[in-house]
C-alpha cells in the first residue's frame, strides 16, 4: 500500500457468513442434542411423526454442522483473513465482490434446500454426501465461486508470499473439489428412463467400489473440512491474538506437505475387515499411524507459538479457546490412528467409540476454533468490544465439561459394546444377545446427552454474546490489539 495508508477492508460477506455460522450452529447442534436424547429415551422419536425419527434427523445433524456451521465459519474467516494477509480489499474489485456475494447467496440457498430435502427423505445414503444430484450441482457452483474468490484475490495481491493460512485454504479448495466430484458421480434415473422422481439417482459405482470411493471421500471430508481449513484459522488467529510469531516455519512446511501426502491414504481404515482388498486395508491402517506425524507437527507448532507467553492463558480467554482447540486436535489425531490399528478396530468399529472420536475432534477442535475466530473477528468487523468477558469464560468451562462428558461416556460405551459382541462362555456360545448390548448403554447415552446439552447451552451463550457485542458492545475507535502485536 502506498504511503503506508491503511487499507479499508470490506467485511460485508464475512459478516453474512458469520450470521450463517451462528444460525446453522444452533440448528445443527440442537438436532444433535435431540438425537442424543432419542438414543437414551426412544419415545422422543415420535414428536414429529415420520419427520422426527432418529433416522430422518441424523443426516440433517451431520450436514447441518459440517456443511452448514463449519463451512460458514470457514468462509467467514476466509473473507476476513484473505483480504488481510494479501493486503487487498474486496472494495478494490467489484468483480470479486460480486462473486463473493453470489457465493454467499447460492450457498445459503443450497443449505436451506438441503434441510428441506433431507427432511423429506431424499438422500443418496452416502454419509456426508447425502444430497441428491440437483443440490450437488449447486454445491459445485458455489465451490467454484469460492475458488474464483481465492485465486482472484491472490491474483491482485500486494503481498508477494502466501501466508501459511492461504496454503491451507488452497488445499481445502482443491481437495474437496476433487473428492466431491468423484464421490457424487451418479445417474439421474428419471432422465434415463422417463419415469419416477426427478430427484432420484443411482451411484456410478457399485458395492465394494462404491464403498471404496465413499470412504476415500468420507474420511477426507474430515481432512479437508474439519482439519485443513481449521488449521488455516489457527495459524492466523493465534499469532494475531497472542502477539507471538508462529513457532517454526520449517515445521509448518513439513507438517503441511506431510499432511497433503499422507491424509488421502488413510480412508482405507474405514474399511478394515470389509471386502476391499487386504493390501488396501493394511495401507489405510499403516498410513493412519504415519498421519500422527504431520498432525502433531501442526499442533505442536501451534502450542509452541505460546512459548514464553503462557501467562496469557490467564489473561485472555480467547487464547484459552485456541490452546484447548490444539490440545483436542492432538487428542483426536492420536485417537484416530489407535482406532485404525486392525486389532483395535475389530472392537471399536461399528460402536459408539467412533461418534465419540468424531465429537472430541469437532466439539473440542473445530467448533472451539471457529468460535474463537468469530470472537476475534467480530470486534474488528463491527469496531465494538466483546460484550461480556465473564460470559465467555463461563461458556468455556461449560463447554469443556460437556466435551469431557461426551467423549468419556462414548469411550466406555464403545468398548463395552465391542467386548460384549465378541464374548463367549465356556461352552463356546455367544454370551449376549444383541439387545443386551443395547440396553447396557443407557447410562452412557444419558451422560452423553447431558454433555451435549451443556455444550449447546454454551453455544447459545456464545450466540448471545456475539449478538450483544454487535448491538451494544462498547464502541472502539481503533482495532483492538493484544499483547505484543506482530506485523500485518
Amino acid at each position: 500500500m502506498q504511503n503506508g495508508a491503511q487499507i479499508e477492508y470490506d467485511y460485508s460477506v464475512a459478516k453474512a457468513f458469520t450470521f450463517a455460522t451462528i444460525l446453522f450452529g444452533i440448528i445443527g447442534m440442537t438436532i444433535g442434542v435431540v438425537l442424543a436424547l432419542q438414543l437414551a429415551f426412544p419415545q422422543l422419536n415420535y414428536l414429529a411423526g415420520e419427520y422426527g425419527t432418529f433416522s430422518r434427523l441424523r443426516p440433517l445433524h451431520t450436514n447441518g454442522v459440517a456443511f452448514g456451521f463449519t463451512l460458514s465459519g470457514v468462509f467467514a474467516a476466509w473473507y476476513y483473513i484473505g483480504q488481510r494477509v494479501l493486503k487487498v480489499s474486496l472494495k478494490e474489485s467489484p468483480f470479486l465482490m460480486a462473486i463473493a456475494k453470489l457465493h454467499f447467496v447460492l450457498y445459503f440457498i443450497t443449505i436451506l434446500l438441503a434441510v428441506v430435502t433431507l427432511f423429506m427423505g431424499y438422500t443418496t445414503s452416502k454419509e456426508y454426501a447425502e444430497l441428491e444430484w440437483p443440490l450437488d450441482i449447486l454445491v459445485v457452483l458455489w465451490w467454484v465461486l469460492w475458488g474464483i474468490s481465492i485465486f482472484g484475490l491472490i491474483g491482485i495481491r500486494r503481498e508477494r508470499t502466501l501466508y501459511i493460512s492461504l496454503w491451507y485454504f488452497i488445499a481445502t479448495f482443491i481437495a474437496i473439489a476433487m473428492l466431491y466430484l468423484f464421490n457424487n458421480m451418479e445417474v439421474p434415473t428419471a432422465l434415463v428412463s422417463g419415469y419416477g422422481s426427478w430427484l432420484h439417482s443411482v451411484s456410478m459405482y457399485s458395492g465394494t467400489n462404491d464403498a471404496l470411493v465413499q470412504w476415500w471421500y468420507g474420511h477426507n471430508a474430515v481432512a479437508f473440512v474439519f482439519t485443513t481449513p481449521i488449521i488455516a484459522l489457527i495459524y492466523y488467529f493465534l499469532p494475531k491474538e497472542s502477539g507471538q510469531n508462529v513457532y517454526s516455519y520449517k515445521l509448518s512446511i513439513l507438517a503441511f506437505w506431510g499432511l497433503m501426502f499422507v491424509y488421502l491414504w488413510a480412508g482405507g481404515h474405514h474399511l478394515l475387515y470389509s471386502t476391499v482388498p487386504d493390501w488396501m486395508q493394511t495401507m489405510g491402517s499403516v498410513m493412519s499411524v504415519v498421519l500422527i506425524l504431520p498432525s502433531w507437527g501442526s499442533a505442536i507448532n501451534m502450542l509452541l507459538t505460546m512459548k514464553g507467553e503462557w501467562q496469557q492463558l490467564q489473561s485472555n480467554t480467547l487464547i484459552k479457546f485456541m490452546v484447548l482447540a490444539s490440545t483436542f486436535y492432538m487428542l483426536s489425531t492420536i485417537e484416530g490412528p489407535i482406532q485404525a490399528i486392525k486389532s483395535v478396530n475389530a472392537i471399536a468399529h461399528f460402536t459408539d467409540w467412533i461418534p465419540g472420536h468424531v465429537h472430541d475432534g469437532v466439539l473440542g477442535w473445530v467448533v472451539f476454533m471457529i468460535m474463537a475466530s468469530l470472537f476475534h473477528m467480530v470486534p474488528r468487523m463491527y469496531k465494538r468490544e466483546i460484550y461480556s468477558k465473564s460470559l465467555m469464560d463461563t461458556q468455556f468451562w461449560l463447554q469443556t465439561t460437556g466435551i469431557v462428558l461426551y467423549f468419556t461416556s462414548m469411550w466406555i460405551a464403545g468398548i463395552t459394546q465391542g467386548m460384549m459382541w465378541r464374548a463367549y462362555d465356556e461352552y463356546g456360545s455367544l454370551v449376549y444377545s444383541f439387545i443386551d448390548t443395547v440396553t447396557v448403554l443407557h447410562p452412557y447415552y444419558t451422560i452423553r446427552a447431558v454433555g451435549g446439552l451443556l455444550y449447546l447451552i454454551g453455544f447459545f451463550m456464545f450466540a448471545y454474546n456475539i449478538y450483544k457485542t454487535i448491538r451494544c458492545g462498547r464502541v472502539l475507535d481503533k482495532e483492538p490489539v493484544n499483547a505484543t502485536p506482530v506485523a500485518a
Partner: protein, 227 residues
Amino acid sequence: MFHWFEQRPFFFAVLVFLFVAFAGIIETIPDFAKQSRPTVGTKPYSVLELAGRQVYIKDSCNACHSQLIRPFKAETDRYGMYSLSGEYAYDRPFLWGSKRTGPDLMRVGNYRTTDWHENHMMEPAAVVPGSIMPAYKHQFTNIADLDTAYAEAYTVKTVFATPYDQDLDGDGVVDVELGEYEAAVAKAKEDAKLIAADMKNQAIKDAVANGQIPEIVALIAYLNSLK
C-alpha cells in the same frame, strides 16, 4: 524446494493437487474392475425389492444397521457367513453403514420372517423388549413409489448392463424379469400379494388387493431378499 512455490500460487496449487490425488489413484484404480464382479447366484433386485430398498434408504435404516459381516467368529455365529465382495455387485449405492446401533442385516432374510418385520416396524419394543428403535408406522400408510423403482431398474439395466431379463444360471428360465413399464409394475403387484399373504394387517391386505403397495410391503420384500 517448497519455498519457491509460496510465491507462485499456480504451481503451488498444482503441487497440492498432485500430492492429494496421488493416493487416490494408487488405492482405487488397480482393483476396480475386479471388485464389481458378482458371485455366482447373486441376482439383481426385483422392482418391488428396489422400491423397498428405496424406503430403507429414505428412512436411513443404514444409519443404525450395517450390512457387512466381518470375518470374525463372533459375527459369523451371530449373523451368518461373512460378506464377499461379489455379493454387493448390484448394490448402488452400497449400504454397509458405519454404526451398529442395531444388529447387522446382511443376511436378515435367513432368520426373520415377514410377520416378524411387520410387528417390528409397527412396535419394535413389542418383539424386542428394550429396543430403542423408533416405530415406523408411517410405512403402513405411505404408498411405495413403483415408478421410481422401475426407473432405477431400467437405468441400471441400460447404463450399467445389470442383467435383468437374462437367464443367469442356464436353466432356461429368465431369473429377474423387468420388461416394459406396465409389465414390470404388474409383476411388482403380484410379488406384493405374496408378501401381503403372510401379513396380519387387514388394511395392508386390502390395499395390496386394490393394486396399491404400502411402503412396508416393499420394505419387507427387500429385507427378505437379504440372504
